[in-house]
């Protein structure tokens, strides 16, 4: 094997190569189609531009994807309730803060309440999955169905608005800061999570539980607690995402807040090169996956695709990306390549 081939192999073998490759392709495509895509301007003291928009809009998806990654890694299943939990947490927060001219309770309590609700929902899911040994998707189907129902119960089926201005800050801009707040929150969540996973052995524990829960138990890991904690964390992330979602529109619509975002979060995990079967995982991959999804959405909007036709293109890109990462397809292509080369050799020999 020549040296360049070796280098190529080393690069393509890097676990984040494919996710990054897909993101770059999506961005390059934009460079050709929408030349203004990479322009960043400052208007009214805040940053504007497609790229900023992509990062801003992908914030809640990144947060959810981080939580989802841990759930997938530890339990080999997905948490489909995060969208409903976000709506639930947002509804509780706004209900507690009230819809008057001033807050009923201090703002920080509202925020804590939302995060707490998220964590409690996560704990319920975790209890069902880790302790009762129920398949993750079925267990989270309960809150998926009930979450929006309970949220509607709280809001009385109405859309509640918050009139206090400071509520918008979380989803828009802090005074005097040109970068949207959601980006900060997403960065904090990603950094804190990575630090916890890197500095403690938790990351390793989650992987070993995900690869083989029984074996992990035999070496003395408490698989139940680790799975439980991953669900609590995922719920917590859903609570934070719910806060951002409600703050963006300073209102809660229990039926539509975070609708289908769980699917995008799962997709982000898969696009990041993580196996949905559990085990090895990469937070960075999921973050890249989330940004890819949002970049795709934003670029399609930039190309004047209407919102309801958008899923078609999304589906096509998803299936191409996932098929590219499929080991079966790679095996097949390798097989073809070997076949071709042996045929060439035979031809040479015949000559």
């Amino acid at each position: 094997m020549s040296k360049t081939q070796e280098i190529v192999k080393k690069i393509t073998g890097y676990h984040l190569f494919w996710p990054l490759f897909c993101l770059v392709i999506v961005l390059l495509f934009n460079l050709i189609k929408t030349p203004t895509f990479f322009d960043i301007t400052i208007q009214n003291g805040v940053l504007y531009g497609y790229l900023i928009d992509v990062l801003n809009r992908s914030s809640e998806l990144i947060i959810l994807a981080v939580g989802m990654t841990l759930v997938v890694a530890a339990s080999g299943g997905t948490d489909i309730s995060v969208g409903a939990v976000s709506a639930f947490a947002g509804a509780v927060c706004i209900f507690a803060l009230g819809t008057g001219e001033t807050y009923q309770i201090p703002y920080i309590f509202g925020v804590l309440l939302a995060v707490l609700i998220g964590a409690l929902c996560g704990a319920w899911n975790g209890f069902l999955v880790a302790k009762m040994k129920i398949q993750p998707m079925v267990a989270t189907l309960i809150l998926f169905t009930a979450g929006r129902g309970i949220a509607q119960l709280i809001t009385g089926g109405n859309i509640l608005y918050v009139k206090v201005d400071s509520f918008k800050r979380l989803g828009a801009f802090l005074p005097g800061v040109p970068i949207p707040t959601p980006i900060f929150i997403a960065v904090i969540v990603v950094i804190v999570t990575s630090l916890i996973l890197k500095k403690t052995a938790l990351g390793l524990y989650i992987q070993s539980v995900g690869i083989n829960a029984k074996a992990a138990k035999l070496v003395g890991l408490n698989a139940t607690v680790i799975q439980f904690l991953s669900y609590v964390f995922c719920g917590l992330c859903a609570g934070i995402a719910g806060l951002i979602i409600t703050s963006r529109i300073y209102s809660i619509d229990a039926n539509n807040a975070g609708l289908n975002i769980e699917l995008d979060a799962i997709l982000a995990v898969a696009l990041g090169g993580n196996s949905l079967g559990g085990g090895k995982f990469s937070i960075a991959g999921s973050v890249i996956g989330a940004i890819t999804i949002q970049a795709l959405t934003t670029s399609l909007y930039a190309m004047k695709v209407t919102a309801d036709q958008l899923p078609v293109y999304k589906a096509i890109v998803v299936i191409i990306i996932v098929a590219l990462q499929s080991p079966e397809l790679k095996k097949w292509m390798k097989h073809m390549r070997v076949k071709n080369s042996t045929q060439n050799v035979e031809r040479v020999v015949e000559q």
Partner: protein
């Protein structure tokens, strides 16, 4: 004797029993509570089938996919797309209803074929494949038309609205006339599909191989079953049934719009789970799924009859029931493990 009964009532059929008993209990409760509002009329019972005909068809397909250990979350979108296609072909293109229906069924089957190929042959997780399918079908619905299309085709409406009176369970109404309960053709389709699926799953080699593949793929392979082809066939069948469910849905709604049947897949999954299907594969029956659908329908009509409760209570009650069944299943699974 008791031993025999106990043997027959192993965990799974016991769960099915509970599902059926719960349905009966719910229904009797409805009859007793709302006796003044005529909940006990036979027509109310048949309305369960009329309102949920397409869900029954969809749940049958879903049950088969779940038994193989897979999942298909695209069916809600496929149903929406089928309705839109039917409406568009008949209204905008002036096509014959029969031809349109055949095309919809074929498109459903092809949709299943593509998804099945990705799942069975490229070994991509079914959740992701059908997620892409879900996006694609929903988007295509909007591409066909983003406005609502109502169906005015006479032949189609005739099929949709032809009441079939049943020759039994007649009651005497206020005027003293005999009134027979009626159903629509959609119910006939649903019941036929249910019976066929029951027979196929129970008595054919294909049906048994579905269970074998879901129970343990490795063993099925070693037994000489063509695991890939079985899976592919199931997805094709499910796609076809989703198309058919779309047609049945359209018989009820007589129109197509983008947001139609959103979340239908989760209702189908919930019905299957309440009916005793395990998402890990290998266990499940279409009869259970039927009762899962009927329980959901009964809760809905109880809430409608009550009158003052808001629609979101349906979601909460169904989730509570789902919770009850899931925990019951897990307890049984644990008991079984202990016995071993």
């Amino acid at each position: 004797m008791i031993k025999k009964v106990r043997e027959r009532l192993d965990g799974n059929s016991f769960l099915l029993m509970i599902t059926i008993l719960l349905f009966i209990a719910l229904y009797i409760a409805g009859v007793l509570i709302f006796s003044d509002k005529n909940f006990g009329k036979p027509q109310v019972f048949f309305n369960l089938f009329i309102n949920n005909a397409s869900l029954i068809v969809a749940a049958v397909g879903m049950t088969m996919v779940l038994i193989t250990g897979g999942i298909d979350i695209s069916i809600g979108s496929v149903i929406g797309m089928s309705c839109m296609m039917l409406a568009w072909m008949m209204e905008k293109q002036g096509m014959n209803p029969v031809v349109s229906i055949v095309i919809v069924l074929i498109v459903g089957g092809v949709f299943g074929l593509v998804q099945g190929f990705f799942v069975a042959y490229l070994k991509i997780q079914p959740f992701i494949v059908t997620l892409a399918g879900m996006f694609f079908a929903r988007g295509m619905t909007a591409v066909i038309s983003s406005d609502m299309i109502s169906i005015t085709n006479e032949t189609f409406l005739k099929i949709a609205n032809s009441k079939i009176y049943l020759p039994f369970l007649a009651i005497v109404n206020k005027k003293g006339n005999l009134v027979y309960p009626y159903i629509y053709p959609s119910v006939v389709i649903a019941v036929v599909i249910l019976i066929v699926a029951f027979i196929v799953l129970r008595y054919t080699a294909f049906g048994r191989s579905i269970y074998a593949v879901g129970g343990n793929e490795q063993s099925a392979l070693l037994m000489g079953l063509n695991v890939r082809r079985t899976k592919l066939k199931v997805y094709v069948l499910n796609g076809f049934l989703a198309g058919l469910a779309g047609f049945v849905f359209c018989l009820n709604s007589c129109g197509g719009f983008v947001e139609q049947a959103r979340g239908f897949e989760m209702e189908a999954i919930a019905s299957s789970v309440i009916g005793g299907t395990l998402l890990t594969g290998g266990v499940g029956s279409v009869v259970g799924s039927l009762f899962g659908v009927l329980i959901k329908g009964t809760i809905e009509s109880l809430i409608t009859f009550q009158g003052t409760l808001s629609s979101w209570w349906t979601k909460i009650v169904i989730a509570a029931l789902l919770c009850f069944f899931i925990i019951l299943q897990s307890i049984f699974a644990k008991l079984k493990d202990k016995k071993k």
